[in-house]
């Protein structure tokens, strides 16, 4: 399993548009992706789940990827995070 912890930097947090991009990226891989904020853990492939995190700028999030393509998946997710969700 691959793990990655990061602080959300993008201005508007993970609401509708960035959440959609996150779901799209995670869904492109076979590995299971979980995102957690504090004690709440959600499925990274679920729009409702990611929205429910209500993550705002400055929140610390943990990504867990598990499966055959976990390494590639994490690279793609990191890229999305580093680009601040294209904002």
């Amino acid at each position: 399993m691959e793990r990655y912890e990061f602080v959300l930097e993008n201005e508007h947090g993970l609401h509708a548009r960035p959440a959609g991009l996150m779901v799209e990226t995670c869904s492109g891989y076979n590995s299971a992706v979980n995102i957690s904020k504090g004690e709440v853990k959600v499925n990274g492939k679920s729009m409702l789940g990611v929205l429910m995190l209500a993550a705002s700028k400055g929140d610390s999030l943990m990504i867990e990827v598990e499966g055959e393509d976990e390494a590639e998946a994490l690279v793609a997710i990191k890229q999305l995070i580093d680009s601040q969700f294209d904002e």
């Binding site: 201005e11 947090g13 609401h15 779901v23 789940g49």
Partner: protein, 569 residues
């Protein structure tokens, strides 16, 4: 037979009644033995719903707007959501139940989760879960609402939801009658934007109207006439003709600036709250924007808008209006406008509390972002920056200091700044009576009659029990408006009015008489107000002003001005 209602979109329509009855949806517990078959059924229904949504997105984009179509894209994403689908599948296989029941249980669960969040943006997502789940349930049960109506239909229903309106052909709808929904409901907004006459709050009982009945919809007075007599038909044909003619009379010269008969020029501008539909607002005759409420840029999100985002919005608006004036008011948050991410404390008297410029001067970083965005946009048009809720000279001076410090920083970074004016709202009685002192520090005043009235007569304008006390004909309010106009005159600055009273035809003689320079209002009122102003002479209004101010009660003033207005037509 006549039935009363409330007008939500003005006009007269003749047509045939069509009752849009939603079939009862059965989501009660039903056991199911073939759970695998049920899951297949679920996926067929998801596919069917997604196809419907795809068509709706396309239609909405073409007929209503891109922004309105996005809501249906979001619905489609929910149908793809693994958590949503898995939850329905689990309920089916664990509880061995039918699909409709499982969808309903899942809907309830997500609705509760979203409603429980301490963020209004997220709470509003519950409505999306409901709309899309209802669509899915109808797909499962093969319920098709018949909204394929004949031309000339007057639609009668409980209320229209976004998905219903999107499924209708506007060319075939002559009028809309709803049992629920007010002036700001979804159906009212759609009816107005498509210029279809509509009334709401109509009590429909079985027996008083049926599909196929001939109807006259009088959406001027708010009356529905069922199976009219010959004389009623003639009567309403005349009214409709008059209404259409009146509209076309107003349209003459609506794009030109207004001079009274004796050459006094008044600017008639629009109130706006976003940068959508700017072209339509110009087509409705706006000479400029008298009030751009920027707080709406801060709402329905998780964090404040960035410099870039605000700059783009202001630039878009300024460019659309070219050299026409655009008054942009810095955010008026607080009062009745709550924003979760700013974490404002609950207050006993929010209208007398932490709001507008008081927040700006307390949270300067937030305020500086907005000022910077405004200054960055200043080269692109005729910008006038306005501050809300100024109650003292100190606040005005502090505000100017903030602008100066942002300006200095920008000059260091070599960011170009254009010309702009600085003005303030006059909405607090203490300011109105000392307007001379404030006038020294600003380029213009804009009188916000809604707040000025509620603070002057000490009446909460949201309190329905006090409606009779909240009248903008109150002699105290009118006296104060006159004081502000005179102070502006002495200082050589322009004075506008941007509250709801600005669009009251009865008050035009008064405004012209005291020398108001600008009236800002809802764009739909502009053509009519311009037409009325062209029939007045400024020189004759001095005696009207004197007479108004000699009267003792709101009722007397209202009666006098109404009679006067009727005599002008």
């Amino acid at each position: 037979m006549k039935i009363k209602g409330i007008t939500t979109s003005k006009g007269i329509a003749f047509g045939t009644a069509f009752m849009l009855v939603k079939k009862h949806v059965d989501v009660s517990f039903k056991a199911c033995t073939d759970t695998e078959g049920a899951i297949t059924e679920l996926h067929v229904a998801i596919k069917k719903s997604k196809d419907q949504l795809k068509a709706i997105v396309k239609k909405t984009k073409e007929e209503i707007g891109v922004k309105e179509s996005k809501i249906f894209n979001a619905h489609s994403l929910i149908l793809d959501d693994p958590e949503y689908v898995k939850s329905i599948e689990n309920i089916i296989s664990k509880e061995k139940v039918c699909v409709a029941y499982a969808v309903e249980q899942t809907r309830k669960m997500f609705e509760a989760m979203f409603l429980g969040m301490d963020n209004s943006y997220m709470r509003e997502r519950a409505a999306d879960i409901n709309d899309v789940s209802n669509r899915l349930i109808r797909a499962v049960l093969n319920i098709e609402d018949n909204i394929d109506v004949p031309a000339g239909t007057i639609l009668i229903c409980e209320d229209l939801e976004p998905s219903d309106t999107a499924a209708l052909d506007p060319a075939k709808i002559a009028g809309i009658i709803t049992e629920k929904g007010g002036e700001t409901s979804h159906s009212a907004i759609i009816a107005k934007s498509l210029a279809i006459p509509a009334i709401s709050n109509v009590k429909i009982d079985t027996g008083n109207v049926e599909t196929g009945d001939q109807l006259i919809l009088d959406a001027i007075e708010g009356v529905l006439i069922v199976n009219p007599t010959g004389s009623e038909l003639t009567h309403y044909q005349n009214i409709k003709e008059h209404f259409v003619k009146e509209q076309s009379i107003y349209n003459v010269g609506m794009l030109d600036r207004v001079n009274t008969l004796d050459g006094y020029e008044i600017e008639i501008s629009a109130n706006i709250a976003s940068v959508d539909h700017l072209k339509t607002i110009l087509e409705q005759g706006a000479d400029g924007v008298g009030l751009f409420r920027t707080e709406f840029l801060y709402m329905n999100r998780n964090s404040p808008p960035s410099v870039e985002e605000q700059y783009n919005a202001y630039k878009t608006a300024l460019q659309a209006f070219g050299d026409k004036p655009m008054v942009i008011r810095t955010f008026d948050i607080g009062g009745d406008k709550r924003i979760d991410y700013l974490k404002l404390e609950d207050e006993m008297n929010p209208f007398l509390g932490y709001r507008a410029i008081r927040i700006s001067l307390d949270r300067k970083e937030l305020f500086k972002v907005q000022i910077k965005a405004l200054l960055m946009a200043s080269p692109y048009g005729n910008l006038k920056i306005m501050f809300p809720m100024i109650s003292s000279i100190e606040e005005l001076l502090q505000t100017r200091e903030v602008i100066d410090s942002v300006k200095t920083e920008m000059e260091k970074e070599n960011i170009p700044i254009g010309e702009y004016e600085i003005g303030m709202m006059v909405e607090i009685p203490a300011v109105a009576v000392q307007a001379d002192k404030f006038a020294k520090y600003v380029d213009f005043f804009s009188i916000g009659t809604n707040d000025l009235l509620q603070y002057t007569v000490a009446v909460d304008r949201m309190n329905e029990k006090l409606n009779h006390l909240y009248s903008w004909y109150h002699p105290g309010l009118l006296e104060m408006i006159k004081m502000v106009a005179e102070a502006g005159e002495r200082a050589g600055i322009w004075v506008g009015i941007c509250g709801e009273a600005a669009a009251d035809p009865n008050l035009l003689p008064f405004y012209v008489g005291i020398g108001i320079h600008e009236l800002s209002m809802s764009p739909s009122k502009i053509a009519e107000i311009k037409w009325r102003l062209r029939h007045l002479s400024k020189s004759e209004q001095g005696k009207v002003v004197a007479h108004v101010l000699s009267l003792e009660t709101s009722e007397q003033i209202k009666r006098y001005l109404t009679t006067l207005e009727k005599s002008i037509q």
